[in-house]
Point group: C2
DNA sequence: GATTGCCGGTAACCCATGTTAAAGCGGTCG
DNA sequence: CGACCGCTTTAACATGGGTTACCGGCAATC
């Protein structure tokens, strides 16, 4: 089970082997590969399929007319870009890769089939999509209220925890394949200030960041610097959520 | 049809009179009323029902430990607070009123019934929920990239257009029952700077704001000051989106 | 092994926005 | 009627973060 989607959904609910097989197969079907800094889908396109990231990092972003860019979300392995977008006529933003990416394009019909025949998977996908909108809200809080240091620390906590869910951390380390310019576009800061802020986090011994490897010597310390409360990731489950109505 | 939800969904798809009746009835069932500045649901609560705002304004917000507060969304008549939240164990934020509010609490079971028997309504609710997450993303863009003037202008455009959808504007006017402190909490600005910014918009003749009434003499001018592109509200439909798979 | 381009790092300066404080201005309630 | 309260407005001052500009390392390319 190296499928990161399954790994993630299992944080929410136990899946039967049949359900896992369905997910495995769906992921194996419409496989695609892209290099660094290519678009998976563009603003204005008509959404046709649901994209599932299998390896590599991508992001959701939007350009303003004068060239400013905001990254609105990072997509990690196991993340789906927008459940149910096909209801909309056209994309209001773009999704692009940050590293080489492998992803699966899941056609609308496949989703509908799964929804009809696998209620527990449906609910787990619901959960995943609620979590990703909760992440979006938390970014609103960061951008609106947190200063540069808290904001960076918060993002790093979030990414670390999300990567851990899909098994992409080792002890207190993970990959962080983002340039400082990309971090800046995500956090609404200038690249210069991202650099200052990272220095400050390093000086405070809250992070070790060398090359593409992030090490967090003391996660609790970083969390408290960020006022990071993981509740919005909804990882605490209580067994089966499924009841007779689903 | 003074039901604002129906009004809104009809921007997406035509509803049959039967479908409208179902929605009317659902809205009439679990009616509740609250005064100004009360909570509809609180962080930590277990979500039990879907709340539909029928009149008045509410907001989604979160407090940080040190008292800072971020308003993450405004809810207007016709807005649903979080389709499908009941999948989650507990709320990661609160929803509170900004004015006296009438809302309907729709129990989970009713939603499931509608979903099973009225695919077109289901799809319209999907659309509404996709639009509200698109709004959340646009706030990320505002907070990350737009300066105070663009940000305020953008918010006012958005609120005006959303109110117009549910028939709550008259020509170029609408109610704006928000204090400057509430605007500040939403836009990540200080109250002082909100005041400065509103003065600036007034001086530029982009808005007339007196008491709780907002007048926009020239919507296009305001939109262009804000770089407001309404595409993210997905109001341009192309007739029936419903096909055989739904 | 020179050239080019990308990325991280720094420094000097500047401005948008925050902070603090205080005054004005209706409403409303006792 | 007077006192209070919530809200807006203004002013003086402080600062976090933006801008511009430059350096150096390093990997890919020829």
């Amino acid at each position: 089970m190296n499928n990161p989607l399954i790994r993630k959904l299992e944080k929410f609910t136990k899946l039967s082997s049949g359900e896992m097989q369905v997910l495995e197969q769906v992921a194996a079907e419409g496989l695609r590969q892209l290099g660094t800094r290519e678009d998976i889908i563009r603003e204005g396109d008509r959404p046709q399929a649901l994209n599932l990231i299998l390896s590599g990092w991508a992001c959701r972003y939007k350009h303003l007319e004068d060239g400013r860019r905001q990254i609105m979300a990072f997509f990690l392995p196991g993340d789906l870009c927008d459940n149910h977008v096909f209801v909309l006529r056209e994309m209001d933003h773009s999704v692009g890769t940050l590293t080489p990416v492998t992803f699966a394009q899941i056609p609308r019909r496949r989703i509908d089939e799964i929804t009809l025949s696998h209620p527990r998977v449906t609910q787990a996908l619901w959960w995943a999509s609620l979590v990703s909108t909760a992440i979006q809200r938390e970014w609103t809080v960061s951008l609106g209220q947190r200063d540069a240091l808290e904001r960076m620390a918060h993002l790093l906590c979030e990414l670390f925890v999300r990567l851990r869910v899909v098994g992409l951390t080792e002890e207190n380390r993970c990959e962080l394949p983002l340039t400082q310019a990309e971090l800046a576009d995500a956090m609404g800061l200038s690249t210069v200030h991202v650099n200052r802020t990272l220095q400050e986090l390093r000086a405070a011994k809250l992070i070790i960041l060398k090359g593409r490897t992030l090490t967090i010597p003391d996660l609790e310390a970083l969390q408290s610097a960020a006022q990071f409360n993981p509740n919005y990731l909804h990882l605490e489950h209580e067994g089966q959520h499924l009841d007779a109505n689903d």
